[in-house]
Amino acid sequence: MTTMSMIQAVNSAMAVMLSRDPKVVVFGEDVGYFGGVFRATEGLQKTFGKNRCFDTPISEGGIVGAAIGMGAYGMRPVVEIQFADYIYPAFDQLASEAARIRYRSAGEFTVPITVRSPYGGGIFGGQTHSQSPEGLFTHVVGLKVVIPSTPYDAKGLLISSIEDDDPVIFLEPKRLYSGPFEGHSDGAVKSWSTHPASEVPEGHYRVPLGQAAVVREGAEVTVLAYGTMVHVALAATRDSGMDAEVIDLRSLIPLDVDTIVKSVSKTGRCVIVHEATRTSGFGAELAAIVQKHCFFDLEAPIERVTGWDTPYPHAFEWQYFPGPARVAEAMRQVAAG
């Protein structure tokens, strides 16, 4: 065990897989010599050589298309898209190709690739360094979508994603790279070192895809969250003094429906939190699932706390970000309803 930040945990997952599996290769913009603009691939080229970790042209469609081709050959590429906001040029390769090749070839060809990308706001990145596009990918059948919230999960989930035989979109909450962030924009920046989930095994381990984690047990209301919003939900619980059960989904596709249903059946109340825009966001899917499976247990309408339906505004980052005050307000409303 050693203490790792989330970025170190991500790095460690790739290092472990590069040394265990000669089929794993890592590439993307600035990931080789430089080690990535967020330093996720720091030292990998030096340790494993240029053939295992290298720079690519600035071409997201090219990066994902090449990864698919390598996957067809039998390799297991792990590619980085520098910011999730820049994944759109690769959308055709992901939605029309990666997601469907197994199906259209009746299993003859598969796409065992992992597409890593930092997402989410909180760094004053404006509309092109802050987006949360997970809903675009959960809507595409054939893709898996994974989002960690701690260093321990980041490493274990990334290893599972790399080992997975289907394409995985692995979204990393960039605001959590160096410390747990609870959404208080004026609060001191915390480091991971005092957080229990920064204790990370140095070697290989898995956190299975499709298993949510109950990060706080409670009786009053269930809060469904992932990524940065898990920490915001915990802060909201503390700030409001409410006895919330906070569930970290960890993987959106495949989704751990049982854990969700069990919790909401117990509390009878549900708040869904994501940073992405509201309309057609993953929260809508979660709400539909909860009302279908927990209809007779629900004591109040389900609430969603999300980013507003606008682009991410640069100067209004903290008015846009669904922080703990908004989450706590929704929790109170749902508890009173």
């Binding site: 430089f34 053939n51 042209p57 071409s59 906001d85 100067a315 846009y320």
Partner: protein, 428 residues
């Protein structure tokens, strides 16, 4: 049978010519000539002597000038003299105005960079060492021509007389910000100045410029368009879209690739610049393609006038590669000492654009070191005064900006019920 004999012949031929043999395949991954701590090496950079590259007639067919994509059009020699067929007709007053715009751009960049370091802004991008491209091209084009820039062409706005105070307002996201705090610093927009809203997503503007030019042609207009991307961005699909549409429709547009050698940490070879110059990409699309010394104010002016004259005469688009050097970090988020030799900028063989234009004006007998220094000081004072004025309206850390209520506007022409309700929910 025939087919296999043909193939065998073909293989024999190749073997005889080069003695190539099948081998265990290996992947080539390009490496720059020098990394941090290594000696600078620009020996692979292909230069032509000033004045050496020919100037085809404006009406020449694209097929007849492939050599221009591989040469380097230069006008200014080391002594500041303007020589060769590309010497433009430019009155000294225009050159002096260009020099002033370049100095203002550099001074503005320096102040804003420092302000970011002091926490007054979230982010900044300098164009230091590349000022001649934007400023000279703004001068070479008509003010009514439409510009589709990247984040590194602030010189276009400054040369077109856009108020620097407003630019500072945007950098600080304060109440002077014409974009209401919605956009990052450096991603400007000014319809009035024919400057299209800068996108953070690389390359998108290249094909948009072609579309604007197509519309101008469809409308029987006289205005042309121009766009700029970095050499790294030529790897995006948008580059191919732009060249294809520009070629097919003979769109009146100037497509500029600013090759400043580095795209964050990856050198121009990662974008394919070792196999062939970026200008040479144009040949395959049947476009005239020029490679120009981007630090030579006069050469940039001359090629832009040439390309604009073609566009205005319905002879279509031109691809221009500007060979220059990004003297500073990619942005305030970058630390170039991690990946490139620290003294590369000072050893760049094409020098500094401001120094070179200064030398030329002095050689013309129109300028002096003393006058230059005076101008430099005047410009610095002006920018400092503007900065004080801008900061009086707030900085990012002071959080004095437009009302957050405005963030719900302009998503659509008319706000729909969702946004109205969300604005209420947000408490505005």
């Amino acid at each position: 049978m025939l087919d296999s004999r043909h193939r065998a012949n073909h293989a024999d031929h190749a073997l005889a010519a080069q003695d190539v043999r099948a081998a265990v395949l290996e992947l080539r991954i390009p490496e720059p000539a020098a990394r941090a701590g290594q000696p600078v090496d620009f020996s692979k950079l292909k230069l032509s002597a000033p004045g050496a590259v020919r100037r085809p007639a404006v009406a020449a067919v694209a097929d007849s000038m492939h050599d221009l994509a591989y040469g380097l059009i230069r006008v200014l020699d080391d002594n500041g003299a303007a020589i060769g067929p590309w010497v433009p007709e430019l009155p000294s007053a225009a050159l002096a105005a260009g020099l002033r715009s370049m100095l203002r751009t550099r001074a503005f960049d320096d102040r804003m960079y420092r302000a970011q370091r002091q926490g007054k802004a979230s982010f900044y991008v300098k164009c230091t060492g590349e000022e001649a491209i934007a400023v000279s091209q703004a001068l070479a084009l008509e003010n009514t021509d439409m510009l589709f820039p990247s984040y590194r062409q602030q010189g276009l706005l400054i040369a077109r007389g856009y108020p620097i105070l407003k630019m500072m307002g945007q950098v600080y996201s304060n109440t002077l910000d014409p974009l209401k705090g919605r956009q990052m610093p450096v991603m400007y927009s000014s319809r009035e100045h024919g400057f299209f809203s800068v996108s953070g997503n690389l390359g998108t503007q290249f094909i948009q410029a072609v579309g604007w030019a197509m519309a101008s042609a469809l409308s029987g207009d006289s205005r042309i368009a121009a766009s700029w991307i970095g050499e790294g961005t030529t790897a995006e699909g948008d580059f191919h879209y732009a060249l294809t549409f520009a070629s097919v429709y003979r769109a009146p547009v100037i497509l500029n690739v600013v090759n400043n050698q580095w795209a964050i940490s990856s050198f121009q070879g990662i974008a394919g610049g070792e196999a062939a110059p970026f200008a040479a990409r144009g040949i395959g699309y049947g476009l005239p393609a020029l490679r120009v010394d981007g630090n030579d104010f006069l050469a940039v002016y001359a090629v832009t006038r040439w390309a604009a004259a073609r566009a205005r005469a319905n002879l279509g688009a031109t691809l221009i590669e500007h060979v220059t050097y990004r003297s500073e970090g990619h942005s305030t988020s970058d630390d170039p000492s991690r990946y490139r030799a620290a003294d590369e900028a000072s050893k760049w063989p094409l020098g500094d654009p401001i120094e070179r234009l200064k030398r030329h004006l002095i050689a013309r007998g129109e300028w002096s070191e003393a006058r230059h220094e005076a101008l430099q000081n005047e410009v610095k004072q002006e920018i400092r005064a503007l900065q004080r004025e801008a900061e009086a309206s707030g900085t990012l850390e002071a959080n004095t900006t437009h009302s957050p209520k405005t963030m719900f506007e302009d998503v659509y022409k008319d706000m729909d019920w969702r946004l109205q309700r969300q604005r209420q929910e947000a408490g505005f």
